[in-house]
Amino acid sequence: MKIRKTLPLSLFVCITAFSFTSCKSDDPVDNYNLTNGVVVLNEGKYNGNNASISYYDFDTQKTYSDVFTDKNNRGLGDTGQDMIKYGSKLYIAVYNSSLIEVVDAKTGVSKKSISMVNDSNEPSYPRSLTAANGKVYIVLYDGHVTQLDTTTLALGSKIAVGTNPDCSVISNNKLYVANTGGMAAVMDSTVSVINLSTFTEEKRITVNMNPSTIQADSEGDIYIASNGNYGTIAGKFQRIDATTNKVTDIAVSVRNFCIVDDKAYIYNFSYDANYNVSDKTIAVYDVKNEELLTSSLISTTLDNTPYCIAVDPSTNYIYVGTTDYSTLGKMYCFDSTGTFKYSFATGINPSKVVFITK
């Protein structure tokens, strides 16, 4: 998930006017199911009404570019921010439409669209999703976390966390939420810790400014990538110790990462003077032994800019989604040694990957 800075009207108008695109298949086919493959949530463009779901089938090696529209005869909405699979359903947070879509994970058919609003009936903007104990925890960018019962699909109680919370992770029956403060006068620098038994915020742990991606290892340690203030304060990769809550800096440059099997798969890049993306690398960091296994796993040159990373736990294949922010994206697949296996086209801004295996 990316922090999106708000822009002045004039600029906003010129950007959106020239750049939003939609991605819809001309020839809807709905005689397929999501049985064995990769499901990709495409964020689309902010204000572009073109969030979508792509599906790559392992058996047929075929890509379906707009599953949600194929199955529901309507678009997913504006800005697909997060997607998880829990039980037999997919839960999708559609940020700018302020919706949670609950979708049958096999058929792709919507079971319920839940409009997320606050007490004043204003959108509360779902940002990230996690699930445990029969509940989906919905992080709302207006500074709250709420819960959705996965059987009744009814919303439960809501608690306040820090400012503009973004990513979240569950570890040891605790929900850790990264508070960015991305739309505040001063950015936030904390992680909220929520006890899921009582559904109360236990504490806030101070980390580097503007934390975003947050993941846990098998020992309960929490890893955070933060962005800083894009100026005087740089981004960092940090660890919160599971028992002491002590925060330690890790000397690895991280744009985004995921942890699977106690390995953090990290992508990083930088911008050159012409604002072209350079130094695109995939690194692997052992989160158990706290050591960098490789700083450059792949030799393949990625098109455009990495936008998401995921690892299939059944094969340890690494998936890297790339974007140019305005046209169709691409999903690369590498095996665990970094050898290129295949790629397929996605929608605009592929932001999240879910694996559905037999």
């Binding site: 006017a17 009404n49 959108p123 046209t327």
Partner: protein
């Protein structure tokens, strides 16, 4: 150089309420309209982009140093005598240097009533769909045969909550009916003009204009959402004078000055602004311009005109926001423009050329500031009459000019990039005009046909990125096009006449950026085919009109693929007017066939709507 004019009866025969409604009837113009009375409206000439269009009001150029574009929705056509589009630049040489500094100029001029001892003027009330009320008043008084004074006030109030149809899938088989929300507008435009004629050829004009607008910005139509709270409060104050002396047939000159102050306050309430007072983000902008111009024109021989003009001005911009983890920049720019021009007219041939020198110097409270710029840019044009007895003229021009990066391009937080170069345009035009008076089937006929080739290079393009985007000079756009326009009128008898205006544009504006993934794709929002037409029939006290604007399909993104297509549209309007002595009444139906269309994707345009105006001339 191609010049198109809409004035008088043609102007009132277009169902137009603001200048952009008029401009879309010019060949080669693409209007960008975000919908509704308060929606941003800009014009792009021949595929070059709106920031290359200079906007001129009563002889002096308008400015917006922040965004580089003037919102035409604020200029109502009340009190406007003529709207003129110059490709390249105006042909008259006695001009401020700034008139030569754009790729094209859209100019509009206010009404100057003829001499009368009495108080003259007009009071008008318009009532339109979506709770729109628009009273206006224009009064003109000659204080002496040499000195006239007039005032104008024009107020608009509108709910603007028009219905539209949102498409939930690309085939349009699943739709939702919605209404625009947060689209209300309140505005007041007031103006005082004074014109003093020392002689028939020497005058001093003075203008003060004040504009106030408070409106909702409904924004993009977001699927499954109807939430919109962004508001804009704009105030601007402008005063200018222009002294012109054409008494001598050897040396003529003019001097002018202008001051412009505009402020804008944008606010938006959103739950995500949870740390801000009342969950509301507030941005303030203020900009000022101090402008001086002088121009001289001499006639050394019967065939030759020489001119020199020198302009200097100063701009600044202040901005602040309550979501401010940045040090807001406070940039200033000093600009000096000098132009030398010559025109040679001999029998059938007219040749003119000018050379424009631009110097800019900028300062900024941040350490980063754009370097000084010095540029020399030429324009050459010629016109030739090949046949002895026919009013056929061949014309051609070449113009090289640029647009400066805006203050947003240069200085907006992380987005801006101070090393930007100007965005350059080269225009080549070859065309012909034909005008004739007849006594047969047609009374008057005017036709023009132009073919052009334009290139935009060093294009200032947004480089998308995370966590922020930026701008760089990359990209080239080549535009090949043809503009055609025909005006014909027929005086049927002493009580009735008929006039027809038609225009059509073919243009291929394509990405020619080396190595681009979208090489040869069509530039977004530039239709290949577009055109307009107007038919006016007058009979005794009645006037009937039909007019249309059409646009072929456009692409909303860099890729010219099917998923980026924005459908063609045709917007058709009719009106009828009854005039009896000083009294006039007009009934209009706009978007007669209730076309459901967007000019800018997800900014729906109003469907069929009605307007009734009643006016009384004093």
């Amino acid at each position: 150089m191609p010049v198109q004019t809409i004035s008088g009866k043609e102007l009132t025969g277009l169902n137009a309420s603001n200048i952009s409604d008029v401009a879309q009837h010019f060949a080669g113009v693409t209007v960008k309209d975000y919908g509704g009375i308060g929606g941003l409206k800009t014009v792009s000439i021949r595929g070059l982009g709106a920031l290359h269009t200079g906007i001129c009001y009563d002889g002096l150029m308008m400015t917006d140093v922040q965004s580089g574009q003037i919102d035409l929705s604020r200029f109502s056509i009340e009190n406007i005598a003529s709207v003129v589009l110059f490709n390249g630049q105006p042909t008259d040489l006695l001009q401020p240097a700034r008139m030569f500094a754009s790729s094209g100029v859209l100019s509009f001029n206010s009404l100057q009533p003829a001499y009368s001892k009495a108080l003259t003027g007009e009071v008008k009330m318009k009532v339109a769909s979506f709770d729109t009320y628009n009273p206006s008043l224009f009064l003109n008084k000659y204080l002496s045969p040499k000195w006239s004074l007039n005032i104008l006030a024009n107020a608009i109030q509108s709910a603007g909550n028009y219905p539209y149809i949102e498409q939930l899938n690309s085939s349009g088989t699943n739709t939702e009916k919605k209404n625009r929300v947060n689209s209300d507008v309140k505005s007041l435009n007031s103006e005082v003009n004074s014109l003093y004629h020392f002689t028939d050829f020497e005058s001093l004009s003075f203008k003060v204009n004040q504009y106030y607008s408070e409106r909702g910005l409904p924004g993009t139509d977001i699927q499954y959402s109807t939430y919109s709270t962004e508001r804009a409060l704009e105030k601007s104050y402008m005063s200018q004078f222009l002294y012109q002396n054409k008494n001598s047939c050897y040396l003529q000159y003019q001097f002018g000055a202008k001051y412009n102050n505009s402020t804008a306050r944008y606010s938006e309430r959103k739950s995500t602004y949870s740390t801000l007072t009342d969950n509301t983000r507030i941005d303030h902008y203020e900009q000022n311009e101090y402008y001086l111009t002088s121009a001289f024109q001499g006639f050394p021989t019967n065939y030759l005109t020489l001119s020199a003009s020198l302009d200097g001005w100063y701009n600044n911009l202040f901005s602040s926001s309550n979501i401010n983890y940045y040090d807001a920049a406070k940039p200033t720019r000093q600009t000096v423009l000098g132009s030398l021009a010559a025109k040679y007219i001999h029998e059938k041939l007219t040749v003119s050329a000018n050379l424009l020198y631009t110097f800019t110097h900028e300062t900024n409270t941040k350490s980063d500031v754009a370097a000084d710029r010095k540029r020399l840019t030429p324009t050459v044009s010629l016109s030739y009459q090949p046949l002895e007895d026919k009013n056929l003229r061949i014309r051609a021009f070449y113009k090289n000019i640029f647009r400066l990066p805006t203050f947003t391009d240069l200085y907006y937080n992380d987005f801006g990039y101070t090393k930007l170069s100007p965005e350059i345009t080269n225009q080549y035009n070859l065309g012909a005009t034909f005008a004739e008076h007849y006594s047969g089937l047609i009374s008057e006929l005017e036709c023009s046909l132009d073919a052009y080739y334009n290139r935009v290079s060093d294009k200032i393009s947004i480089m998308y990125g995370v966590p922020y985007s930026s701008v760089r000079n990359i990209g080239r756009v080549d535009i090949k096009g043809t503009d055609v326009s025909v005006k014909a009128s027929k005086k049927i008898n002493s009580k009735s006449d008929l006039s027809v205006n038609l225009s059509y544009t073919f243009q291929l504006a394509q990405d020619y950026t080396a190595g681009s993934a979208t090489y040869h794709d069509i530039i977004p929002y530039t239709p290949v085919h577009s055109g307009s037409g107007a038919l006016i029939y007058r009979f005794k006290r009645f006037e009937y009109g039909y007019n249309y604007v059409f646009s072929g399909k456009r692409y909303i993104g860099q890729n010219s693929n099917a998923s980026n297509v924005l459908n063609p549209y045709i917007d058709q309007n009719v009106f009828t007017r009854y005039t009896f002595r000083k009294f006039s009444c007009t009934a209009e139906i706009n978007n007669l066939f209730n076309a459901n269309y967007d000019i800018v994707k997800y900014y729906p345009m109003p469907g069929r709507n009605y307007r009734l105006s009643v006016s009384y001339k004093l």
